[in-house]
Amino acid sequence: MAYEMDEIRISQEIFYFLLEHHEIREETEGRLYQAYAENERIQNLVKSQGEMASSSIERYGDVIYLIPREENYFLGYSKAQLKAALCKSGGTDRDYFLSQFVILILLTEFYDGQGRSSKARTFLRVGEVQNSISAYLKAGAESSREQQEEQGISFAAMYEAYEALRSDEKGSKAKTTKEGFLHHILKFLEKQGLLVYVEEDEMIQTTKKLDSFMDWNLLNQNHYMRVRRVLGIEEEGL
């Protein structure tokens, strides 16, 4: 199929903009958004460019997003990079697993719905999240007690590590407190445009971006193989 030079140019512009800003909103970038949404040829060009960059380009609602594929460590975070971003220097693997678990808890609390949207909560308070972390770690420690020794990752150890963090009423941001640990994770998620975190009011809300990603990408039955890989059911199959 022959493309016009204009179409190629604008598709390249769109892709570079995505590379720089990770998303294109209709409100602020109306020109690029419309070029993408209204012209299927441009859409195809951008998508193919995304494929070359090992990512997918999706339009959810009035925003176009750049989404890295599982094996993309250039745009996406590798495990080591994620650890560096979430846990401060000197963090152990245990800290990293704990941080992953905390993010999973946040998502599960927010997106437990089975209705038209998976979103089940409009907001969470920081204190509540802290309590759920404790509760789930404890539950995990009990349910997986038998097998934890051989696997190397144990909820019991994570629970101990978490409970060993001080609890600080004054809302200290030091890494040695529960508040500080959570604060750091929340700040990271906020920087990624997934949450809105109002420190003053201890309020956590999700953004439209996270809502769309959960509804249409992460929890999409078509992407269920991701879960199977995480759970180690289909390691070789893919």
Binding site: L66, I103, T108, Y224
Partner: protein, 543 residues
């Protein structure tokens, strides 16, 4: 259907649900007891008082933070409830009312109403307030609360009449007021009408927000209702408002005419005239608001169509349950956490690595100021007040050192009129206290010398004039001109000061181009160093 009167039963149940859920949310909570609200009546009085405050703020389109609610409750408490609550308690009570009683901790609330036509229960969604993130003038991010449509319905139902009657009754009252010429009441009436319009406008905006978030959450029935309401309001009231405006204008003109002709109006008439102007103003704004409703109405229509089109492709997506399929599994097999980042990968994006452009090396260079990271301040675990005080103390201490160094040079100049840095060095080597004064540390000495040499010539009267004529902010750090003048004034005010006034201070390198070295001086962080500086000649000139 057998019984006609059971039609629209869910609609009634929705209204019942508005009360029922609120009572349910409030009654089983023990938090009330902490603040001394033991009886249910007391509790509900407070809840509705808070809701009315929220309505007031929502109508004014002003922010409503927890702090505001706390302050409001505090005022109410001191004037009326008289419970033993501090301001902090009031704030916590406000937090409880807004986030627990009215928002159910962020969990959506449903009330099941039986639909006798479909013979099933309908889940009626109920929400009293919504919150949004706002940025205050200071750039601080806060949560602001406002009333939703359900909230308005509930509150208006407690005093105002049923929804579709409201406007016409208000209009009737307004007309009566106008005819009876009791203008102050007419002002209230027209304000009310204006508020109705604003509520409708907010309704549309809320609906647009909902559609934008997820068009599937917005039902066709809701859409139809809001469209009909819009059309009714716009159709019925616009013409009337314009008529009112004309009428009010005519009356105001009449009164004004009188004002010119008779030159004298009694107090009552003056007030009437003022009220009429207010009414006219409101009516003009109401017509504007109409225009906005009409525009929003069209926007909503376009938006809904577009979103639905987009969603028709998306709606086929099947979702799995995060809790059962992943979370519960992870609880049993924690080793999955090791690969968890796979699942999160689409969520996090990092910036690509930077590429260095060699041409940058050839550009004129500027000192890159160290940018303090916005986040780093928050990690310091100290009392902010104490920290600021400590910073101020350190700053003063440092300034004192500058003052010592410059003061020594100036003092010497006042006695000797002319000397070189080499002479200073010789004295400093002989007397440690001079050396300590002249060179508190390397950095400070260097800065003072650099500033002096760069300045070259200091015209004292001109500097004084400049200081007099310009209002300057108190500079944070070391300012040579400022300090020079301060020191001079101090010297002059000393009892033994000579009567002559220094008018010019000249600092220049000596023509022979030799250098002066100071050995064994310490830098700010305690390192021993040698300073080498070109020899400098200091000269004073008096009037």
């Amino acid at each position: 259907m057998q019984y006609e009167f059971l039609k629209q039963f869910p609609k009634r149940m929705k209204n019942i649900g508005l009360y029922a859920l609120l009572f349910g949310n409030s009654s089983q909570k023990t938090t009330w007891k902490q603040y001394g609200f033991d009886r249910m009546d007391e509790q509900l009085n407070v809840v509705f008082a808070v809701m009315l405050y929220l309505m007031e703020q929502s109508l004014k389109k002003e922010n409503c933070l927890l702090d505001d609610i706390g302050a409001y409750l505090d005022t109410l408490n001191t004037s009326s409830f008289e419970k033993p609550m501090s301001y902090e308690d009031c704030r916590r009570l406000g937090d409880f009312i807004v986030n627990v009683v009215l928002s159910n901790d962020g969990r959506p609330m449903y009330f099941d109403g039986y639909d006798f036509e479909k013979r099933e229960y309908l889940h009626l969604h109920i929400s009293y307030i919504s919150n949004e993130i706002v940025y205050l003038d200071t750039g601080v991010k806060r949560t602001s609360y406002r009333l939703t449509e359900d909230g308005y319905n509930l509150l208006l139902g407690t005093l105002e009449v049923e929804n579709n009657m409201k406007l016409t009754i208000q209009e009737m009252i307004f007309k009566l007021h106008l005819e009876k010429q009791s203008y102050d009441k007419a002002v209230d009436a027209v304000k009310n009408i204006f508020q109705q319009l604003q509520i409708q406008l907010q309704k549309i905006q809320e609906a647009m927000g909902k559609v934008r978030r997820n068009a599937l959450n917005y039902s066709v029935a809701e859409y139809q209702q809001i469209l009909e309401e819009n059309m009714d309001i716009v159709r019925e009231t616009r013409k009337k408002f314009i008529e009112y405006r004309e009428m009010v204008k005519a009356r105001a003109a009449e009164l004004e005419e009188k004002h010119i002709n008779i030159q004298k109006l009694d107090e009552q008439e003056k007030e009437n005239l003022n009220n009429l102007r207010v009414i006219e103003d409101y009516l003009t704004r109401a017509v504007d608001e109409h225009q906005k409703i009409l525009n929003h109405h069209l926007d909503l229509k376009a938006l809904y169509t577009k979103e639905l089109e987009g969603l028709s492709q998306m709606s086929l997506i099947q979702r799995f349950s995060l809790r059962t399929e992943l979370f519960d599994q992870v609880l049993e097999h924690p080793q999955a956490l090791d690969r968890m980042e796979l699942f999160f990968r689409p969520l996090f994006l990092q910036a690509p690595h930077k590429i260095y452009n060699l041409n940058k090396a050839l550009e004129p260079q500027q000192t890159a100021r160290k940018k303090t990271e916005a986040d780093s301040r928050e990690q310091i675990d100290v009392d902010e007040q104490a920290w600021l005080q400590e910073q101020e103390r350190l700053r003063q201490e440092k300034l004192e050192k500058y003052r010592g160094c410059l003061g020594y040079l100036l003092g010497r100049l006042l006695t000797a009129e002319k000397f070189t840095l080499a002479q200073c060095r010789d004295d400093a080597q002989a007397q440690p206290q001079i050396r300590k004064k002249l060179i508190p540390n390397v950095e400070i000495f260097k800065e003072v010398m650099v500033e002096l040499i760069r300045g070259g010539e200091f015209d004292i009267p001109a500097l004084k004039k400049e200081r007099r004529d310009f209002i300057q902010e108190n500079a944070e750090g070391f300012q040579i001109n400022e300090m020079l003048l301060q020191l001079l004034e101090e010297q002059e005010s000393l009892p033994g000061a000579q009567g002559r006034q220094l008018c010019r201070l000249r600092v220049c390198r000596t023509p022979d181009g030799t250098a002066v070295a100071f050995d064994g001086v310490f830098s700010a962080d305690g390192e021993e160093k040698t300073i080498r500086c070109s020899n400098v000649l200091f000269q004073a000139q008096y009037e």
